[in-house]
């Protein structure tokens, strides 16, 4: 059964920046007394916020499906709600996701991230008039979408990727490319060629140097590198 937790004090080092009052960002040392029921890092920072209501972060579902509470935790991107607080070395160092402009504290501006997602046309394109009923797809064809459609757009992967840090405006990034392959792999989509054209560029796809940080940090255990590899294979096979 569940491990019993006890009330305990936890030390934090947190990136703080409020452009309304701070000239520059700084790291704040702060500790908080946790209740026995506080198990996840998110529980801990929600508890911290009851002491200092100015600490700012995004959160919503608290169960790892909405993708709001991605942050850099002891140097590694992850979701606060899926991280056991007691598993972390102290002081727990929290920073905003790297590589995106910081709005305030742990909240980053995700405009560039979503721009890349939108750039791959994230929707099924099928210009054949739809049948009265569902389009058919075999269980095996549907299986191809597993490991792709589950992405929660938390941006842990793209903001862990050096290629995305250097070229966030030109490189689609792991999340966007995973989505690109999700539509290529869908038997209902008719635009595979256009999708490949859209990525045929020195930056958009080929900036991936298979460093695999994306795979390492994905809180949903997805594998963008593998999806990127499959897109590259398709490009090669259509070139010959």
């Amino acid at each position: 059964m569940t491990t019993e937790h006890i009330a305990r004090t936890v030390q934090f080092k947190i990136y703080r920046y409020d452009p309304d009052k701070d000239a520059a960002p700084y790291m704040q040392d702060i500790s908080v007394q946790l209740e026995a029921t506080d198990r996840k890092l998110l529980d801990a920072i929600v508890r911290l916020k009851t002491k200092d209501d100015s600490l700012s972060f995004r959160r919503s579902c608290r169960e790892g499906v909405c993708g709001s509470d991605a942050m850099n935790i002891n140097g590694k991107n992850g979701l606060a709600c899926l991280t056991d607080v007691d598993s972390l070395a102290q002081p727990i160092t929290l920073r905003p996701l790297p590589g995106l402009p910081v709005i305030r504290d742990l909240i980053v501006d995700m405009t560039q991230f979503f721009k890349q997602y939108h750039s791959i046309k994230p929707y099924v394109v099928n210009n054949t008039p739809p049948p009265e009923r569902e389009r058919l797809q075999s269980p095996e064809e549907r299986e191809e979408l597993n490991g792709l459609y589950e992405c929660i757009l938390c941006a842990c992967c793209s903001t862990a990727c050096p290629s995305f840090w250097w070229n966030p405006d030109k490189f689609v990034g792991p999340a966007g490319l995973l989505a690109a392959y999700r539509f290529i792999a869908d038997t209902r989509d008719e635009e595979t060629n256009e999708r490949l054209d859209n990525l045929e560029d020195p930056y958009r796809l080929f900036r991936c140097h298979t460093i695999m940080n994306c795979v390492d940090v994905c809180p949903k255990s997805l594998n963008p590198t593998k999806a990127i590899g499959k897109i590259k294979e398709l490009m090669l096979s259509r070139a010959v």
Binding site: D53, C61, R62, E63, C66, S68, R104, Y123, L136, Y149
Partner: protein, 590 residues
């Protein structure tokens, strides 16, 4: 004070399933539409839905929309409006197929059709035996659906205002709705969004309770805004407690687990649902299962050191089936219960899950007050009460509700907007000032109440005084306590005064909405002196004269709570469907 103004044909508040389904219809019709959401669209709580969306597609075995309708009316304990229920069940196959065409990655049967699983209360042939009606994408149906709807909106070029918080509804002196006032979180700037038609699709308010399957953001904002703008709230005493929230954490374990063969057991290892619902067993309606669980716990047959939960057992299922059909549950059990469900059962307790009541509408999505629709105002999804769920919602009927009424309200709005004159009415300054006053108070309040503490005392009060079983004395005390807490809510104080992404301010403004929902709930519950569906009281027990404690002679009617003076009045249930015969009143048994 003057605020910036933006004008549209339509404004939708909320980018969950309901808001985004309506947005598809509006954007594809070419009207200028704004969708405002306090979170990025795919972070709306529809994303957490697991089990499925119902439609009588009959992909695995015969099914019919009239059977679906029968189950829904019975599930609602006859409090649902039968015209709206007919409309929803008849439309279900079409809207689900449309969603598939949008790209929704449903699981598939060998013949290539959408996979369907059994679910609580879904029966064939008017209550005879379980039927496979829940269309599913593994146990991530809501995620798959919300992303598919967002993607369709990207294709339709819908204009989103992401991370904007709607503050209040703006009305003309004649009652017409003119739009909303909203705050951009990043800058704290306030703008009036003016439109010919406004849709609320703001989701549920499960956060009025201490233990809930709902997200932090489910704070009933639309319902609170409507109440402040003088719109009564319908059937707010009816809250669904889902049988299987992870004990301690509140995170949901879908009913689809029982649909796939999961079994509830007490401390004796007994499959106790066989005693409470000999026919449907573990797949009886949610209120029935939740009460059975609480009864087992109260009678000393709970599990664990404190005997305060029961076990959900799937250890007898094939691990391959678990990984294929319930991968998300496998992950949740490990993350939040600390057990691998392939090897050990999951500790579960009934947990607040769904708000059956809400802003009163008809099945066109028009908000209806005193028998007439409010010009320019629409509501859909969990914040609305159409009323298809009545006193208890069937699992998978909410995602369906989002699709059907998202679409129908979108269509009604298109029709309404096309008939409206081009010129927009002036927004009265007093309307704007009223709303700004709420923000200004927070900027200046000193010596006030702590937001977190105040919210916590509201949540504990609701949990203890208006839970799975309700007690006459506790309800009355609960009303007094909530009215006391309301006074503190009016004086909350925040320390953070920044204009940039001020989450303390957002939480304080959300609490203004939560308290409206809590008042409506407990006052309506206190007044309804019968037991029906999810509302069960000790002073309305099961008797031969009133089976299950239901009192149709006096209480077959919808409650309407008015914020002003906490006044209640009632309106009749629509027992007449659109084309078929009325489903006659009957005692509910599974």
């Amino acid at each position: 004070m003057k605020v910036a103004k933006r004008t549209f044909d339509a404004v939708i508040v909320g980018a969950g399933g309901a808001g985004m389904r309506a947005a598809v219809t509006l954007a594809e019709s070419g009207l200028k539409t704004a969708v405002i959401s306090k979170v990025f669209p795919t972070r709306s709580h529809t994303v957490a839905a697991q089990g499925g969306v119902s439609a009588s597609l009959g992909n695995s075995e015969p099914d019919h929309w009239t059977w679906h309708m029968y189950d829904t009316v019975k599930g609602s304990d006859w409090l649902g409006d039968q015209d709206a229920i007919e409309f929803m069940c008849k439309q279900a196959p079409q809207v689900v197929v449309e969603l598939e065409h949008y790209g929704m990655p449903f699981d598939r049967l060998d013949n290539g059709k959408i996979y369907q699983r059994p679910f609580g209360g879904h029966m064939s042939n008017f209550g005879e035996k379980p039927v496979r009606r829940a269309c599913a994408a593994a146990d991530r149906t809501g995620h798959a659906m919300l992303h598919a709807l967002y993607q369709r909106n990207v294709r339709a070029n819908t204009q989103f205002f992401v991370e904007w918080l709607a503050l209040d509804l703006l009305r003309a002196p004649d009652g017409r709705v003119l739009g909303v006032l909203a705050m951009e979180m990043e800058t704290g700037e306030i703008t009036a969004f003016q439109a010919k038609a406004t849709l609320f699709a703001t989701g549920g308010a499960g956060r009025i309770y201490y233990s809930s399957t709902n997200a932090f953001v489910n704070t009933g904002d639309g319902v609170g805004m409507a109440a402040r703008a003088g719109v009564p709230l319908e059937d707010m005493e009816f809250w669904q407690f889902h049988p299987t929230g992870v004990a301690g954490a509140g995170v949901l374990i879908t009913e689809g687990v029982r649909g796939e063969g999961g079994i509830l057991r007490n401390s004796d290892g007994e499959r106790f649902m066989e005693r409470y619902a000999p026919n449907a067993k573990d797949l009886a309606s949610r209120d029935v299962v939740s009460r059975a669980m609480v009864t087992e716990i109260n009678e000393g047959r709970g599990c664990g050191p404190n005997k305060d939960y029961v076990l959900l057992d799937i250890t007898h299922l094939d691990p391959a089936t678990i990984m294929q059909r319930l991968p998300g549950i496998h992950e949740i059990a490990i993350q939040f219960a600390g057990v691998d469900p392939i090897k050990a059962p999951i500790p579960v307790v009934p947990t607040c899950h769904y708000q059956m009541g809400g802003i009163p509408t008809n099945y066109h999505g028009e908000v209806v007050v005193d028998g007439a629709s409010v010009a320019g105002f629409y509501a859909a999804g969990e914040c609305a009460c159409a009323s298809v769920h009545g006193a208890n919602r069937l699992g998978t009927n909410s995602l369906l509700d989002l699709l059907v009424f998202g679409k129908s309200s979108g269509e009604s709005m298109v029709e309404f907007i096309r008939k409206e004159p081009a010129a927009l009415q002036e927004i009265p300054q007093s309307e704007i000032d009223k709303s700004l006053a709420r923000v200004d108070r927070l900027n200046t309040q000193t010596n006030g109440a702590d937001v977190h503490e105040t919210r916590l005392s509201m949540q504990r009060t609701m949990q203890n005084h208006a839970g799975v079983f309700r007690f006459k004395d506790m309800l009355q005390q609960g009303v007094d306590k909530i009215l006391d807490i309301e006074k503190q809510v009016a004086q909350t104080e925040i320390k953070d005064k920044s204009q940039v992404w001020n989450t303390a301010r957002i939480e304080a403004l959300e609490l203004d909405n939560l308290i409206e929902v809590a008042k409506a709930t407990i006052i309506s519950a206190n007044a309804r002196t019968e037991s029906r569906g999810a509302h069960v009281r000790d002073d309305a027990p099961d008797t031969p004269e009133h089976p299950n404690g239901r009192d149709d002679a006096n209480w077959l009617k919808h409650s309407l709570w008015h914020r002003e003076g906490n006044r209640l009045d009632y309106k009749p249930v629509k027992l007449q469907p659109l084309t078929v015969e009325s489903i006659a009143l009957k005692t509910r048994a599974y």
